[in-house]
């Protein structure tokens, strides 16, 4: 594997399977009373968040703590970043403090790529979501979840599985990372959205495009609903929330068109009543909560593999602290 995880396109098929298989082994820990491994003891991981993200940040933090890393949360709010400090100076500061890895969430597309390519920082850079570009660990947890349901087992990929992603593809970093990773793993991806929410040039992407959700549902093994942010309303991407919901939202009637084995996914946070009804969100086919748990396992695997930690199969050697974050969503 490369030293950084900036884009899901950085992962070869072997890399991706290694992450998923490693995550599968690490996931067994979460069933134990003591969930902690000493693997990253003495290593420093910085969570550098320029954008609010309780869910992703918490997930990374749990993963880091379960691997016994020293965790530093560097939030843009209330720090010198909000006083105009540049990304470069922030990076140099973290480097001087000895960060072994930096998990970065940034509102600007490409900010993690800049960090990874610069000589500002020597540690691994892990992209936790950059602008409308990518969110590779989200794609990994999605693939992990799909594999468990659709083709379980170590070393297995997603060959031939049909994944449909519905919603605001134009602004979605989840969609961009997923199309890279899922096609690497052999899945067939279909994007469904109104034409206004698809990027120019998408015909060249390795996926199918449809404007009609109903026609795609019977041919879907995993259906991923993306959130549509309310601010898109004012930019004429679609006429009204209700019209969007009628044409592209998932309700019980539509869900019934899916094959019986198909799962319904959502990266969260869900807007119930907009892209997904409560009936679907609360149904047993919906994997949203499972995805959150899988996110921790996958992020543990990424940190473990990038930081080249010791053999983890020995099992926990020290008691886990009772961090309240472990119960967070």
């Amino acid at each position: 594997m490369k030293r950084h995880l900036v884009s899901a396109a950085d992962l070869s098929r072997d890399d991706a399977l290694l992450v998923l298989d490693t995550a599968e082994e690490l996931a067994q820990l979460s069933g134990r009373a003591v969930k902690k491994l000493p693997t990253l003891r003495g290593r420093t991981v910085v969570n550098l968040f320029f954008e609010d993200s309780t869910r992703t940040k918490t997930s990374f933090e749990v993963a880091e703590k379960r691997l016994s890393a020293d965790v530093i949360n560097f939030s843009a709010k209330g720090s010198s970043v909000s006083k105009g400090e540049s990304l470069k100076d922030t990076a140099l500061t973290l480097q001087a403090m000895g960060a072994d890895a930096v998990v970065i969430r940034h509102h600007a597309s490409g900010a993690p790529a800049r960090l990874a390519q610069s000589d500002w920082l020597h540690g691994s850079v892990i992209n936790a979501g950059d602008g409308t570009h990518e969110h590779p660990t989200q794609a990994l947890l999605d693939a992990f979840t799909m594999r468990r349901h659709l083709n379980p087992g170590s070393g297995k990929d997603l060959a031939g599985r049909r994944v449909t992603i519905v919603g605001d593809i134009l602004h979605s970093r989840v969609a961009r990372s997923n199309v890279h990773l899922l096609t690497t793993l052999g899945a067939q991806v279909t994007f469904v959205a109104p034409p206004t929410l698809l990027p120019i040039g998408i015909e060249q992407w390795p996926c199918e495009i449809s404007y009609d959700l109903d026609s795609v549902l019977p041919k879907t093994d995993a259906l991923m609903m993306l959130r549509v942010q309310r601010e898109r309303m004012n930019a004429a991407f679609f006429p009204t929330e209700r019209e969007y919901s009628r044409r592209y939202g998932l309700d019980g009637v539509r869900m019934a068109q899916l094959p019986e084995h198909a799962i319904v996914m959502h990266p969260g946070p869900m807007v119930r009543g907009m892209e997904i009804t409560a009936e679907v969100a609360d149904s047993p086919r919906c994997t949203v909560v499972e995805q959150v748990a899988n996110g921790v396992s996958v992020r543990m695997a990424v940190l473990y593999l990038l930081l080249g930690g010791a053999v983890f199969a020995d099992g926990p050697t020290e008691p886990a602290r009772t961090d309240s974050v472990e119960t967070a969503q």
């Binding site: 490409g110 800049r114 409308t132 602004h171 040039g201």
Partner: protein
């Protein structure tokens, strides 16, 4: 005044001849000239062109002297073979009054490396709401004839119409930065395959083309001169070709970087490639080269846009737009136009000196290389090959996209009215100029 004898230089790429420069003019041209001169230059293999004229630079003074001053900007111009540059109006304060344009003009005169012809703002403060005092700027010592809100588009159709009409009274021209503002809100790069993958806001070609289409129609309607700044798309070329075919008085420029670079470079997210209009596709590059070759595009203009390091050493979204270009322009044109066989040196002289001088109505520049003409000349060595080293630049800024790139050719000497501003590839001492 120092006199020069240039031996065996190829005027516009022709057969080798000698040139004798004295008293600010070309005294004599011939083979084996037997004249005494203070300095003799062996120019075997070198090309003589008329001093280059740039319709589009940002010299940043007044206001952003940390990026560039008129002195350092004109030194960079001289190093690039230019003897006249137009300085855009987006300074602080904006060059929208006679006072500011005169100040910029005088700074150029004092610097002495290159004539500086200020461009006046079309609207007050580049605000796009109210015409600036165009007549006053024309009547000032700066004698402004080119007006532009460059960096911003005069998008109000009525205001654009009035500006085009008004400057007819003193043979002026409006140089439009064609960018439909609503279509480019949040734009970060060319909208296309690459922007979609990178998740960067798109700057669609139609935002440029729709304004150009409107403006050529307006210019025809009111019978005025229109100049289109930094044309960047194949579609824009088609519209300009159509307008010229109608006989309308429309001219256009292209930058060196749009002749060479494409939006694929943005995949690095390195803001050194962030520029407005953005780098486009390989198809656009080919169309622009062809248009420059057939004369649809009249001129090469650098859009030299210096920025301090901190404005580029950051994430893409917050980085400043623009590239320095004066010191690499002729090399890029050699690589993209001459070495490809699209344009000969006569053509280069036309697109980089004669035509831009004519568009700007500069009488002392863009003249033929012949006896009795002012000695505004550049001596260029096309055989040179070397990597671009920004640390050797005369400009105060280093934001070049060509760092480390092998580009052909090098300016050996530049003469401004018979004085060498550059000699043997080195900038002349300022005291030696005045």
């Amino acid at each position: 005044m120092t006199s020069y004898l240039i031996r065996n230089a190829k005027i516009l790429g022709g057969a080798p001849q000698d040139l004798h420069l004295a008293d600010g003019v070309i005294k004599e041209i011939g083979t084996g000239l037997a004249v005494e001169a203070d300095i003799e230059i062996d120019a075997t293999g070198m090309i003589v062109l008329p001093g280059l004229v740039d319709l589009h630079t940002h010299l940043r003074e007044p206001g952003r002297e940390d990026a560039e001053t008129v002195l350092t900007g004109t030194q960079a111009a001289a190093m690039g073979g230019f003897t006249a540059v137009h300085a855009m109006a987006n300074t602080t304060p904006v060059a929208d009054t006679a006072g500011v344009v005169e100040q910029v003009w005088r700074l150029g005169q004092e610097a002495g490396y290159c004539d500086v012809q200020p461009v006046g703002a079309v609207t007050v403060g580049l605000g796009g709401k109210k015409l600036a005092e165009l007549g006053a700027m024309h009547e000032s010592a700066a004698g402004v004839r080119v007006f532009s809100d460059d960096g911003k588009c005069v998008d109000d159709a009525v205001l654009m119409r009035r500006a085009l009409e008004y400057v007819k009274a003193f043979d002026g021209v409006v140089a439009q930065h064609a960018q439909e503002p609503r279509l480019t809100e949040g734009a970060q790069m060319n909208e296309g395959q690459v922007s979609g993958e990178l998740g960067l806001g798109g700057w669609p070609a139609v935002a440029e083309e729709s304004i150009i289409a409107r403006d050529v129609l307006l210019s025809a309607h009111v019978g005025s001169r229109l100049h289109v700044c930094h044309v960047s798309t194949a579609g824009s070329v088609e519209i300009i070709r159509w307008a010229k075919g109608k006989g309308w008085d429309v001219t256009a420029e292209v930058t060196p970087h749009h002749l060479l670079l494409t939006d694929e470079l943005v995949r690095s997210y390195d803001p050194v490639y962030k520029v407005n209009p953005p780098l486009r596709t390989a198809e656009d590059v080919q169309a622009l080269r062809k248009a420059l070759a057939d004369g649809t595009i009249d001129a090469v203009a650098t859009d030299h846009a210096p920025h301090p390091a901190e404005d580029k050493d950051c994430e893409w979204a917050v980085a400043a737009m623009g590239m320095v270009g004066l010191e690499t322009a002729l090399s890029v044109v050699q690589q993209t136009m001459v070495d490809t066989g699209l344009l000969n040196w006569e053509g280069v002289a036309d697109r980089m000196s004669h035509r831009p001088a004519r568009i700007g109505r500069l009488t002392g520049h863009g003249r033929p290389v012949s006896v009795g003409e002012p000695a505004n000349l550049v001596l260029f060595d096309p055989a040179y090959r070397g990597a671009v080293n920004p640390d050797s630049f005369a400009t105060r800024s280093r934001n070049t996209p060509y760092r480390g790139m092998d580009l052909p050719g090098r300016v050996h000497a530049t003469f401004l009215r018979g004085r060498a501003t550059v000699l043997a590839g080195e900038l002349a001492e300022r005291d030696g100029l005045v």
